[in-house]
C-alpha cells in the first residue's frame, strides 16, 4: 500500500520517458512484424492463404514483413537501447527532449506509412528499400534529427572517453543515412513512383552495397553496442578485453562495406567485384567472432547465473547465434557454396538465424531487464514465464533454421541434378517445389513457437508495467562505467 510514492527516481537527470516510448513501440511492432511473417510463411506452405486479394498476396506482404521486422521492431529496439544506455554512459540527459520526441513520432509515422503503402502495391522494389520516395524523404529527415540529437548528446557529455558501445552506435548513425540516400536516388514519375538513377548491374551493385550494410549497420553494429553495454551490466562483469574491442570494432566497420557483392556471385557483375565481395566476406569472420568472443568471455565467472537467470540465457544464445550466422554468412559467400545456396531457402534460414537468434533474442533479453528498471518495478510480473519464452524461442529458431537448411539443400541440389543421360533430373520446376512442402510446414511451426513466446513476453511486460512499484530501487548501480 505504501508502495507508491516511496520511490525517488534514482536518476532524475535522465529522460527515461523516451526510453519507455521506444520500448512500447518495439513490443507492438515486434508482434506485427512476426504476425505478418507467420502469414506469409503460411502462404508459402498453402497458397490459398494469399486470399486472392491484391493486398494480401505474398509479393506485397513480404516487403511489409521485412520492413516491419528490420525498421519497426529492430529499429525501435536500437533506439530504446541507444537512448537508455547513451545517457548513462555519457552521464547526461539527451541533448534535446524535443528532438527525441520528433525522432520517436517521426519514426512511428514512417512505419505507419509503410504499413499502408506496401500492401497497396506502392513500392520502389529494391529489397529493404521498398518504400516510395516521399516516405524515404521522411526517413532522411527523421534520421538527421536523430543524428543531431546523438552528436549533441556526445557534445554535452560529462564523461570524457567514449565507451565502446558508443563507437558502434556512432558507426550506425553515420552510415545509415549515406546508404539510404545513395541507394534511393531516383527520379519521380509521380507522388507514388520513382525510378532509380542507376541501371541494371550498377543498380544491383548499389542495392546490395546498401542491402548488405543494412544488415551490417542496422542489425549488427547497434546490437553489438547494446551487447557491450547490457551484457557487462547484467552479468556484473567487466568486458573481457579492451584491446579486442578496439581491434574488432575498426576491422568490422572497415570490412563490412566491401562484402555487398557476395549477393551477386555468378551474376553479370564484373569478376573483380565479385571476388572482392567474396574475399572480404570471408575476412569478416575475424572481427565478427572477435565480438562474439568478447561477449561470451565477459561472462567468465558468471556462467552459473546463466542456469538461473532467463535474461542471461537470452543474451548467451543471442551472442551464440551471432557467432553462428557470422560463420555461416562467409561460408555462403564462397563462390562454390554460393552456387548451391543462392536463390534457395538456405538464405532465408541464414537471415532468420541472425534476425530471430541474434537481434530477437538480444532484444528480448534486454527488454526483460530494462522494463522493470525504467518502470521502477522490483521484478518481472512472471519471471518464470521468461524462461518458458526462452525455450519456446530457442526451439522455434532451431526448427526454423533446420527446416530451411533442408529445404535449401533439397532445392539447390535438385535444380542442378542430372540423370544418366546428362539431362536435368527434375525438368519440371513444380516437382521440386512440392518436395519442400513438409519443410515449409515445419518452418511455420518454428515461427509459431517463436511468436507464442513473444506473446507471452508482451503480456509479462505489460503486467510488469502495470504492477506495483518497487519498494526501493537499488541506488544507481545504473551509473555508467
Amino acid at each position: 500500500m505504501q508502495n507508491t510514492g516511496v520511490i525517488a527516481s534514482d536518476e532524475p537527470r535522465y529522460d527515461d520517458a523516451i526510453v519507455k516510448m521506444f520500448v512500447i513501440a518495439t513490443i507492438v511492432w515486434a508482434l506485427v512484424g512476426m504476425l505478418v511473417g507467420l502469414w506469409i510463411a503460411l502462404e508459402i506452405a498453402w497458397w490459398p492463404a494469399n486470399l486472392g486479394l491484391p493486398w494480401t498476396t505474398f509479393g506485397r506482404l513480404r516487403p511489409l514483413h521485412t520492413n516491419a521486422v528490420i525498421f519497426a521492431f529492430a529499429g525501435n529496439a536500437i533506439f530504446f537501447g541507444v537512448y537508455h544506455s547513451m545517457q548513462r554512459l555519457l552521464k547526461t540527459r539527451m541533448f534535446s527532449d524535443v528532438l527525441s520526441r520528433l525522432h520517436f513520432w517521426g519514426w512511428q509515422l514512417i512505419i505507419v506509412c509503410a504499413a499502408i503503402s506496401l500492401p497497396l502495391g506502392y513500392t520502389f522494389s529494391k529489397e529493404y528499400a521498398e518504400l516510395i520516395w516521399p516516405i524515404k524523404v521522411l526517413i532522411a529527415i527523421v534520421w538527421v534529427i536523430f543524428m543531431i540529437n546523438f552528436f549533441g548528446t556526445i557534445a554535452i557529455r560529462k564523461v570524457q572517453h567514449l565507451y565502446v558501445a558508443i563507437w558502434f552506435y556512432m558507426a550506425t548513425v553515420i552510415v545509415v543515412p549515406v546508404l539510404h540516400i545513395v541507394n534511393s536516388l531516383s527520379i519521380p514519375a509521380s507522388f507514388f513512383k520513382s525510378y532509380p538513377i542507376y541501371a541494371g548491374m550498377t543498380d544491383a551493385l548499389v542495392q546490395w552495397w546498401y542491402g548488405h550494410n543494412a544488415v551490417g549497420f542496422i542489425l549488427t553494429t547497434p546490437f553489438l553496442g547494446m551487447m557491450y553495454y547490457y551484457l557487462p551490466r547484467i552479468a556484473e562483469r567487466p568486458v573481457y578485453s579492451y584491446r579486442l574491442s578496439i581491434i574488432h570494432f575498426w576491422a568490422l566497420v572497415f570490412l563490412y562495406i566491401w562484402a555487398g557483392p557476395h549477393h551477386l556471385l555468378y551474376s553479370a557483375l564484373p569478376e573483380w567485384a565479385q571476388t572482392l565481395g567474396m574475399v572480404f566476406s570471408i575476412m569478416l569472420i575475424a572481427p565478427s567472432w572477435g565480438g562474439m568472443l568478447n561477449g561470451l568471455l565477459t561472462l567468465r565467472g558468471a556462467w552459473d547465473r546463466v542456469r538461473t537467470d532467463p535474461v542471461l540465457k537470452f543474451l548467451v544464445v543471442a551472442v551464440s547465434f551471432y557467432g553462428m550466422s557470422t560463420f555461416e554468412g562467409p561460408m555462403m559467400s564462397i563462390r562454390a557454396v554460393n552456387s548451391l545456396s543462392h536463390f534457395t531457402n538456405w538464405t532465408i534460414g541464414h537471415v532468420h538465424s541472425g534476425a530471430l537468434g541474434w537481434v530477437g533474442m538480444l532484444t528480448f533479453g534486454v527488454l526483460y531487464w530494462i522494463v522493470p528498471k525504467v518502470w521502477k518495478r522490483s521484478q518481472l510480473a512472471h519471471p518464470e514465464w521468461a524462461t518458458t519464452h526462452f525455450w519456446l524461442a530457442t526451439i522455434g529458431i532451431v526448427l526454423y533454421t533446420v527446416s530451411m537448411w533442408a529445404a535449401g539443400l533439397t532445392e539447390g541440389l535438385e535444380w542442378r541434378a542430372f540423370d544418366d543421360t546428362g539431362q536435368l533430373k527434375y525438368p519440371n520446376f513444380v516437382d521440386i517445389v512440392h518436395q519442400l512442402s513438409p519443410f515449409y510446414w515445419l518452418r511455420l511451426l518454428g515461427g509459431l513457437l517463436y511468436f507464442t513466446g513473444a506473446v507471452m513476453m508482451v503480456w509479462n511486460l505489460y503486467q510488469t508495467m502495470r504492477g506495483p512499484l518497487a519498494i526501493r530501487m537499488a541506488p544507481a548501480t545504473a551509473g555508467a562505467r
Binding site: 502462404e43 572517453h161 553515420i174 532509380p196 541494371g200 551493385l205 567485384a273 517445389v433
Partner: protein, 245 residues
C-alpha cells in the same frame, strides 16, 4: 576495463576516445573506403557493364507491364538472372549478360527462386498461356503454388501514367525521344491490339486496355533482346564470369 598500464595503440586509442569529432571523422573515412572502391568503377566505361547490340528500351506498353510486375512483387519469387552453369542454361536458356539489363531501372534480378527464373521467359509460352496463368496458375501449370491475380484482368492501365513513367525514365538515361513519349497512346494501342488478336485466336476475348495485356507484353519481351548478339559472340564489355562447366 580501463587501467593505467595502457601502452602503445590502446593508449593512443584511449586518447582518440576523448576526441569525439575526430573519432567520428575516422569512422567515416574507414567506413567508406570499400564502397568507393567498388562502386565508382561501375560508372567508368572500362569496368562498368558493357553494352549488348540489339538491346533496346522497353516499349510504352512494356513499361506499364514492368510497373505491374514491380507492384505485385513478382521479383520476390522469380529471379531474372541465369547463372553461367550447365544446369541453369539447360533449364532456362542462355546465361545472362550485363548488357541485357541496360535499361532496367530498377534492376529486377531477384534474390529467391520460389518459382522458376524468368530471364528467358519471353516467347517461351503463347500469350494465352500467360493470360490463363495469371487468372489461375494451376490451369496451365498443374501443382503450381503461385497465387491468383484475377484483378489484372479487370484493372485498366492508364496511358498518361505510362507517359509520366517514360519521362522519368528518360531523365535517368533511357533514350526515349519526346516523339516516342508523345506517341505512346498509339504505340500502346497497336501493341495491345496485337496481343488481343493473338488471344482471340486462342479463343479468349480480352479488352486491350487491361493490366494483364501490359504484363503479357512485358513478360513476352524478357530476355529476347540481345539473343542474336549473344549467339554471335558479341557480348560487348565485361560480362562477369565465364561459363562454369
Amino acid at each position: 576495463m580501463s587501467d593505467s598500464t595502457e601502452t602503445g595503440y590502446t593508449a593512443a586509442h584511449r586518447t582518440l576516445e576523448g576526441k569525439s569529432a575526430m573519432f567520428a571523422v575516422f569512422v567515416t573515412i574507414v567506413i567508406f573506403i570499400g564502397g568507393l572502391v567498388e562502386i565508382i568503377p561501375m560508372f567508368t566505361a572500362a569496368q562498368g557493364p558493357g553494352g549488348l547490340p540489339g538491346v533496346t528500351p522497353y516499349t510504352a506498353l512494356e513499361v506499364a507491364g514492368r510497373d505491374i510486375y514491380i507492384r505485385e512483387g513478382c521479383y520476390l519469387c522469380h529471379s531474372q538472372m541465369v547463372r553461367p552453369m550447365r544446369a541453369e542454361v539447360l533449364r532456362y536458356g542462355e546465361w545472362t549478360r550485363s548488357g541485357e539489363y541496360a535499361y532496367d531501372h530498377p534492376f529486377l534480378m531477384g534474390s529467391r527462386r520460389m518459382g522458376p527464373d524468368l530471364q528467358r521467359v519471353g516467347g517461351k509460352y503463347p500469350d494465352a498461356w500467360h493470360y490463363e496463368h495469371m487468372q489461375n496458375p494451376r490451369s496451365v501449370s498443374p501443382g503450381s503454388v503461385m497465387p491468383v491475380y484475377p484483378w489484372l484482368h479487370r484493372n485498366k492501365y492508364d496511358v498518361a501514367d505510362i507517359q509520366a513513367s517514360m519521362r522519368a525514365l528518360q531523365r535517368v538515361g533511357v533514350p526515349y525521344t519526346d516523339t516516342e513519349i508523345a506517341g505512346a497512346p498509339q504505340a500502346v494501342a497497336a501493341q495491345a491490339q496485337g496481343i488481343v488478336d493473338r488471344l482471340k485466336q486462342a479463343g479468349i476475348t480480352a479488352e486491350p486496355n487491361r493490366e494483364i495485356i501490359a504484363l503479357i507484353a512485358y513478360l513476352q519481351r524478357l530476355g529476347k533482346d540481345g539473343r542474336a548478339a549473344i549467339a554471335a559472340g558479341q557480348t560487348g564489355g565485361p560480362a562477369g564470369g565465364e561459363p562454369n562447366p
